[in-house]
C-alpha cells in the first residue's frame, strides 16, 4: 500500500528578485513518507529560514516543488484530478501559526466551522452539522456553548487556535500539518493546545507533523523529529535519542541554547560561535561549527544512518547512507 503522503527527493528554490542570481534554495532533496497505518507525531525543528515552513507548504500542496514529487496515495499531487484533490483536502489538514489572522473579524467564529461542513457536505442536516461541530470542539477541550456565536475578538488566542484544530478535526483527517501552532500563544496555554494534538493522535489515529522552532515542546509531544538547517535535514530519528544524545553539532548547539529552569546557570556562559567562519561550500553548518575541519568544506555531507532510529548528516559520524527519512522515523523504525 502506498503512503498517505510521500515526498520524493523534493527540492524548492525560490526565484531571486530581478533576472540575475540563482535564487534561494529553501529545501534540498528531502524524501519522507507518512504512513497512515502507523500514526505518529513528527516534529520538524529549525531556526527561521531553515526551510521547515517550506516543507509544510509543499506537503500541503500549497506550493509546488522545483524538483521531485509529492505523492498522495501514490499519485502526483500537482496533477491530481479534482475529485481526488477534494479527497486530499479532507485527508490532510493544516493548522497555521497565527490564531488572529485566520479569522474574518466580521464573522462569528462559527463561520470557520460551518463552511467546511457545507463545502464538503459533511452532514446531511443542519442539526447533524451542529452536532459534528460541537463534538469537534469538545475533542479539543472547548465548551461549545462558550464558543459558538462569539466573534473572534471575544476569544483568547488559545481558544482561537483550538478552534482551528477543531476545524481540522471536522474533516476526520489522516494527517494534520501544524505550522508553529503555539508560537503566538502564552506559555501556560501551549501545553493545553499541544495536549489536544497529542490526544487526537492517540485517540483518533491522526498523524501530525508539528513544525516548530521550540525544541522543548517538540520533545514533549512528538515521537520522532527532523532537525533542519539551511534547507536540509541534518539529524532525524527517534525524539528521545536525538534530544537526549544529539549527534549533529547543530542539534547540540540548539539544545544548549535553550534556557532551562534550573539552578545551575551555565546558559549565559555557553554557545560561543566558532568554526570556519566563512561559507566554504560543503557542509552548511561548517561556518559555525566548533568541530569544523578542512574536510567539511569538500562536499555536503549525506544523511547517514548511525542507529536504527536515527540519521545524521555529519562527517564525524559513520553509517550506511539513508535516502528515505521514513526509515528512521517512528514508529516504523522502533517497531
Amino acid at each position: 500500500m502506498s503512503a498517505l503522503i510521500q515526498a520524493d527527493a523534493v527540492s524548492k528554490r525560490f526565484a531571486a528578485s530581478g533576472f540575475t542570481g540563482e535564487g534561494t534554495l529553501a529545501l534540498d532533496t528531502i524524501t519522507l513518507a507518512i504512513d497512515p497505518a502507523r500514526p505518529s507525531i513528527t516534529a520538524v525543528v529549525g531556526e527561521s529560514g531553515s526551510g521547515k515552513t517550506t516543507l509544510a507548504r509543499i506537503l500541503l500542496g500549497l506550493i509546488a516543488p522545483t524538483s521531485g514529487k509529492v505523492l498522495y496515495q501514490g499519485e502526483d499531487l500537482q496533477t491530481l484530478p479534482s475529485a481526488r484533490r477534494q479527497q486530499f483536502r479532507r485527508d490532510v489538514q493544516a493548522v497555521f501559526q497565527d490564531p488572529y489572522e485566520v479569522y474574518n473579524p466580521f464573522y462569528r467564529v462559527d463561520h470557520v466551522l460551518t463552511t467546511p461542513v457545507r463545502n464538503f457536505k459533511l452532514a446531511a442536516s443542519k442539526a447533524e452539522g451542529r452536532h459534528l461541530i460541537e463534538e469537534s470542539l469538545r475533542a479539543v477541550g472547548l465548551r461549545p456553548e462558550e464558543i459558538l456565536g462569539r466573534y473572534p475578538h471575544q476569544l483568547s488566542g488559545g481558544q482561537r487556535q483550538r478552534i482551528m484544530v477543531a476545524r481540522a478535526l471536522l474533516m476526520r483527517p489522516k494527517l494534520i500539518v501544524a505550522d508553529e501552532p503555539v508560537s503566538m500563544v502564552d506559555a501556560s496555554l501551549r501545553a493545553t493546545i499541544l495536549g489536544s494534538l497529542r490526544k487526537l493522535n492517540e485517540e483518533m489515529g491522526i498523524s501530525i507533523i508539528y513544525i516548530t522552532h521550540d525544541l522543548a515542546t517538540a520533545y514533549q509531544v512528538s515521537d520522532s523529529i527532523l532537525v533542519m538547517y539551511r534547507a536540509a535535514v541534518v539529524e532525524a530519528g527517534d525524539v528521545e535519542r536525538v534530544v537526549r544524545h544529539p549527534q549533529h553539532p547543530y542539534t547540540q548547539k540548539l539544545i544548549a541554547s535553550i534556557p532551562q529552569v534550573d539552578t545551575e546557570r551555565g546558559w549565559l556562559g555557553g554557545g560561543e560561535e566558532s568554526g570556519l567562519g566563512v561559507n566554504v561550500g560543503g557542509c552548511r553548518f561548517a561556518p559555525r561549527c566548533p568541530f569544523a575541519e578542512a574536510a567539511c568544506a569538500r562536499a555536503v555531507p549525506p544523511l547517514l544512518r548511525t542507529e536504527t532510529a536515527r540519521a545524521v548528516a555529519c562527517i564525524r559520524h559513520a553509517g550506511p547512507p539513508l535516502e528515505d527519512l521514513a526509515g528512521v522515523l517512528a514508529p516504523a523504525a522502533m517497531a
Binding site: E47, S48, S156, G157, G158, Q159, D186, A187, S188, L189, R190, A191, T192, L194, G195, R198, H213, D214, L215, A216, T217, Y219, Q220, V221, E240, V243, K253, L254, I255, S257, I258, P259, Q260, V261, D262, T263, R265, W267, L268, G270, G271, E273
Partner: protein, 321 residues
C-alpha cells in the same frame, strides 16, 4: 545597599466604557544597583504596563493613579514632562518589546543613535559622535559599518542589538528590557542575552527583564517577581523561587514549561487569565487555583514579607517561623 530604583504602591488604571480596568495594582519593589530583576507573568498580567509606568509612558485612556517611583533620590512623578523626557535614556532606558519594529525604517542606524545625543543635548563634534557610535556598536557586538545601514538590511538579532546600543548610549542606571528576545530563535536569543548581560555589567546598570519564559528568567535574573492580574504575587531570589515556589500561580507557571529532561504529560494552567475589569472577589487566582479554600474566595490576600528579599500574596503560605 541603597536601591537604585524604588517602586512604591504603583497603580495604573485604564478608563473603559464598561468600568475601570486596573492593569497595575499597588505594586512595590526595589532594585539594587547592578541587580537583574525579572518580571514574569502571562499576557495581560500587567507586566508590560508596569514597565511602561515606571518610565511614565502610559498613554490615555491609561493613567498612573497611585504610587511613587524613585530613581536614586529623584521622585519621578514630581518631574516636569521635559525633565522626565531627559531622564529617559540617561537614567532609565528601555529595550522595547518587538524592538525589531521599533527602529525607524527610513533612518540609518547611526543616525538613530545620533538622534539620542542631539535630543538629550549631548554636544559632540561630528567625529566624536561617529567614534562614540562605533564604540557603542562594537559594545553590542556589531561592526561599525552597521551605522550606515538601514534597519531592513539587518537580521532580527542585529536589529535587537542596535536597539540595545540605543538604550545604552547615554549610560542609563536602569535598563528595562521588555521581552527583548521573544521574536528570535533560541541560538540568537542566547547571543542577544549575552550581549545584554555584558553591556549591563560594563555600565554597572541594573536591569528589569520582562517576559514569560521561565527558563530565560531562571538563567538570567537574580530575583524574580511574578505578576498576576496586575499584582506582584511573589518576589524571591531566583534559585529560591524555582526550587521552592510559594505561590500556587508561580508553581503552575514553572510546571507549564516543557522540560528537555523528561517527558511528562503536558499540563497547562487550567482556565484563563481573568478580565482585569471584572476580577473575581478575593484572590484573583482562586478560580484557577487547585489549592483554593473558602478564604481565597472572600478575602484578597495581602503582600507579606517572608524574610529578606521575599514577598508573597497568598493565604495558603504560612508566615515564616
Amino acid at each position: 545597599m541603597r536601591p537604585v530604583l524604588r517602586v512604591e504602591g504603583l497603580s495604573v488604571a485604564f478608563d473603559h466604557p464598561l468600568g475601570l480596568v486596573r492593569a497595575v495594582d499597588d505594586v512595590s519593589f526595589a532594585l539594587r544597583p547592578r541587580e537583574r530583576f525579572g518580571l514574569a507573568g502571562e499576557s495581560g498580567s500587567g507586566k508590560s504596563t508596569m514597565a511602561l509606568s515606571i518610565l511614565r509612558m502610559i498613554k490615555p485612556p491609561g493613567r498612573i493613579d497611585g504610587g511613587k517611583v524613585w530613581l536614586e533620590d529623584t521622585q519621578l512623578s514630581e518631574l516636569s514632562i521635559e525633565a522626565m523626557r531627559q531622564l529617559r535614556l540617561q537614567g532609565l532606558a528601555m529595550v522595547p518589546q518587538g524592538a525589531m519594529n521599533s527602529l525607524n525604517p527610513v533612518l540609518r542606524i547611526g543616525d538613530q543613535i545620533n538622534d539620542a545625543f542631539v535630543d538629550h543635548g549631548v554636544a559632540l563634534s561630528k567625529d566624536a559622535a561617529r567614534a562614540r557610535i562605533d564604540e557603542l556598536l562594537r559594545t553590542v557586538g556589531l561592526k561599525p559599518e552597521v551605522a550606515r545601514l538601514y534597519p531592513h538590511e539587518l537580521s532580527g538579532g542585529m536589529k535587537q542589538r542596535a536597539c540595545i546600543a540605543i538604550a545604552i548610549c547615554l549610560n542609563p542606571k536602569v535598563i528595562i528590557a521588555d521581552e527583548p528576545t521573544s521574536a528570535l530563535d533560541v541560538v540568537v536569543q542566547l547571543q542577544v542575552m549575552q550581549t545584554l548581560a555584558r553591556v549591563q555589567e560594563s555600565l554597572g546598570a541594573a536591569i528589569i527583564l520582562v517576559g514569560h519564559d521561565m527558563g530565560l528568567m531562571a538563567q538570567f535574573v537574580d530575583r524574580l517577581g511574578v505578576m498576576y492580574a496586575g499584582r506582584l504575587v511573589e518576589v524571591a531570589p531566583i534559585a529560591d523561587i524555582i526550587t521552592r515556589p510559594r505561590h500556587p500561580y508561580t508553581k503552575a507557571l514553572i510546571s507549564s514549561l516543557p522540560s528537555l529532561e523528561k517527558k511528562a504529560p503536558m499540563t497547562g494552567i487550567p482556565g484563563l487569565a481573568p478580565l482585569l475589569r471584572d476580577l473575581p472577589p478575593g484572590c484573583a487566582f482562586h478560580p484557577r487555583c487547585t489549592a483554593a479554600v473558602a478564604r481565597c474566595r472572600a478575602e484578597k490576600p495581602l503582600v507579606r514579607a517572608m524574610g529578606e528579599d521575599t514577598t508573597v500574596a497568598c493565604h495558603l503560605v504560612d508566615d515564616p517561623a
